[in-house]
């Protein structure tokens, strides 16, 4: 059975990358960005298009932190908890944020390890933008603003 027909969007992404197995990570980035996660259907379609086994693609998806098998929350707050940010209080900020947004609908607090903003920490990334010298107050404001634009409720 040609499973690629079952998932035209994933099929189109693979075509865009010439169905090249070495482009698998680029393809998965596009799937993750366009569909919010790598679903079973998308995974099967990608495997078929690249002539890989589903096990191989699953292995790659599970290896990299950027790919998820389930949809993420609407708002992902990526807090750096690597050493340079730890030196300016990132661990406390992270623990505070986890507690603060635990029951907030549509908000996920995710630990990341270095955003390359090590002189102006603690650093937080929302979407493609990094925010420096983060505080509890600024993070509350940032989440509220992002919630307005992204439709999540904090």
């Amino acid at each position: 059975m040609d499973r690629t027909k079952a998932h035209p969007a994933a099929r189109a992404i693979c075509l865009r990358h010439g169905d090249r197995p070495d482009a698998l990570i680029e393809i998965l980035h596009d799937v993750q960005t366009e569909m919010g996660h790598v679903s079973d259907g998308a995974l099967a379609a990608v495997a078929d298009a690249l002539n890989l086994s589903k096990a191989e693609v699953t292995g790659v998806v599970s290896f990299y932190h950027d790919f998820t098998r389930a949809p993420r929350k609407e708002l992902v707050l990526q807090l750096c908890r690597a050493e340079a940010c730890q030196a300016v209080g990132a661990q406390a900020l992270f623990e505070w944020a986890e507690a603060r947004f635990k029951s907030a609908d549509g908000v996920e607090v995710k630990a990341v390890y270095c955003l390359g903003n090590c002189a102006l920490g603690p650093a937080v990334m929302v979407g493609n933008r990094v925010y420096g010298r983060m505080t509890e107050e600024k993070l509350t404001r940032l989440a509220a603003q992002a919630a307005v634009t992204e439709g999540a409720s904090g």
């Binding site: 750096c80 050493e83 990334m125």
Partner: protein
């Protein structure tokens, strides 16, 4: 109407992280409101990051800098005749005369922060392309000889001589060869690769093009971590500008051979900064490290001879080709030639990028450039060389910053990151974190790293909880020895370095504690 006044507001993501975009918008709004003709240039950052957003105005007397500027300051700056370089509490004067910048030795970062990073004319006017021009008239063997003679060593952490790597790849015969740039800058405390890619991307492309000519490669890859979306986007745009200008022809004069350069984005895996793991990732696979030999210069990407170099290694090559190996080797000490982009991070008053010749002391960097801690608290430890480097104590600040001196002091240079910690840091927790980080990021291929990191974390938990501390410290020491000797790559092999350096230098943090302390 007079020509618009150039106002520079960095587009570097560190500057943007503290409001540079908002400042640029405010300048445009304010100028419009006042009917002033302004041309806003989004330049790279000069690297004095504690002054970001640092705004510069081009006046008849050269550029005048202001910083750190908040969008709310822009009105008062215009009131103070900003466009004529007028006086204001935020006025810093000529940026090149700021001691932080004036006291550096900038070869690699000479152009960073001066212009729009995608302006190829500005790049050439600033000395760019001179190295490539010379390389195009030299034979591949001559290029390799020049790089070898410069003494340039890998800036990613391992410090392997670049010229020897290139020579191996040049001598290998194959139908295809590759040049790969490792821009998976994952060490906490480092951001020099990011700054260069966002602020002066053509230098890296020029270095890669020269490398391609040196070994006879027609294809190259830049592997950038996904945490750096701005760098990915700037590099992709820069490659297009480069190709449109017809600069992607590294072959002999008149040759129609093209050098095709791809920008690939990682997917959030620290281990992909290890070169063989990066090659696996470029092939679309799990980023698991490969056993060596064979080395990549013999059998690398898709099994072909490949040179893998860090951003700063490749970006040093245009200067070396333009000015000559001898001029480069005048900088530095012993077998550490040239300059290193040190990155001042963590609890530091004047954080940012400091490019100095090897041999500068840690004290000069942390105290003279960095101004001590940002918090004002006493300094307790400096992590040198990232999460696989050592924690040094304040007693060791006079160590010279070069490959050999640091190794002799029981540390390593790594990618040149310095993370400053104040006296509130608990070194036992830092040691635990080193193991935790290894457990999270281990590729899983070899047992000492995959299992060792987890066991190390558990053992540190027991030490912190005060359980049988002496016995557990002995166990941890054993485990560290096994990880060092038995791991396949530097991830498991060097994770013991922060752990053991913390234990050796800060034993008071590892003594049995009462329950309330843990």
């Amino acid at each position: 109407m007079s020509a618009p006044v150039k106002v520079f507001v960095p587009r570097d993501s560190a500057a943007v992280s503290v409001g540079a975009d908002e400042v640029a918008l405010a300048v445009a709004d304010e100028a419009k409101k006042r009917g002033a003709a302004v041309a806003i240039v989004r330049n790279g950052s000069r690297g004095a990051l504690w002054l970001e957003p640092m705004l510069e105005v081009e006046t008849q007397n050269g550029r005048i800098a202001y910083g750190p500027v908040d969008a709310g300051d822009v009105g008062s700056l215009f009131d103070a005749s900003l466009l004529q370089g007028g006086d204001h509490p935020l006025r810093l004067g000529a940026p090149e005369r700021l001691p932080y910048l004036a006291n550096q030795e900038r070869l690699l970062f000479a152009r960073c922060g001066l212009a729009d990073p995608l302006d190829l004319d500005a790049y050439a006017a600033g000395g760019g392309l001179a190295g490539l021009r010379r390389a195009l008239t030299a034979s591949p063997a001559d290029i390799v000889a020049e790089v070898k003679a410069s003494g340039l060593r890998g800036r990613g952490g391992a410090g392997f001589p670049a010229g020897i790597k290139w020579e191996t790849a040049l001598k290998a015969s194959a139908d295809r060869k590759f040049v790969c740039c490792n821009a998976d800058e994952g060490d906490s405390g480092t951001f020099a690769d990011r700054m260069l890619m966002e602020g002066d991307p053509f230098t890296l492309i020029e270095g890669l093009t020269i490398a391609a000519r040196a070994i006879g490669a027609e294809e190259g890859y830049i592997y950038i971590r996904s945490e750096y979306p701005d760098a990915v986007s700037t590099m992709r745009q820069a490659v297009r500008v480069w190709e449109s200008a017809g600069l992607n022809r590294p072959g002999a004069a008149g040759s129609e051979k093209l050098f095709r350069l791809h920008v690939r984005m990682g997917a959030g895996a620290y281990i992909c900064g290890e070169e063989s793991s990066m090659l696996e990732s470029l092939e679309g696979k799990r980023g698991e490290v490969r056993a060596k030999p064979p080395i990549p210069a013999i059998s690398g990407l898709f099994g072909k001879p490949t040179i893998v170099n860090n951003v700063l290694t490749l970006a040093s090559v245009p200067w070396i080709m333009a000015q000559g190996a001898a001029a480069y080797a005048k900088y530095g000490v012993g077998r550490s030639t040239g300059t290193q982009a040190f990155q001042l991070a963590g609890d530091i008053a004047r954080g940012g990028l400091v490019e100095k010749a090897f041999g500068v002391t840690l004290r000069e960097l942390v105290e003279d450039f960095g101004g001590g801690t940002r918090s004002g608290r006493p300094l307790k430890a400096v992590m040198v060389g990232g999460p696989l480097g050592a924690y040094l104590s304040p007693k060791e600040l006079d160590v010279k910053m070069d490959y050999e001196s640091l190794a002799a002091a029981g540390g390593m240079l790594g990618h040149g990151g310095l993370v400053v910690f104040n006296d509130t840091v608990d070194m036992a927790r830092q040691a635990r974190f080193a193991m935790e980080f290894c457990a999270i990021e281990s590729c899983g291929k070899c047992t000492p790293c995959r299992v060792g990191a987890v066991r190390g974390m558990e053992t540190m938990d027991r030490i912190i909880a005060g359980e049988d501390v002496a016995a557990n410290l002995a166990l941890l020491d054993d485990l560290c020895e096994l990880m060092t000797d038995g791991s396949l790559c530097a991830m498991g092999g060097l994770t013991p370095m922060p752990v053991q350096s913390a234990i050796t230098r800060f034993p008071e943090d590892f003594r049995p504690r009462t329950r309330s302390e843990s």
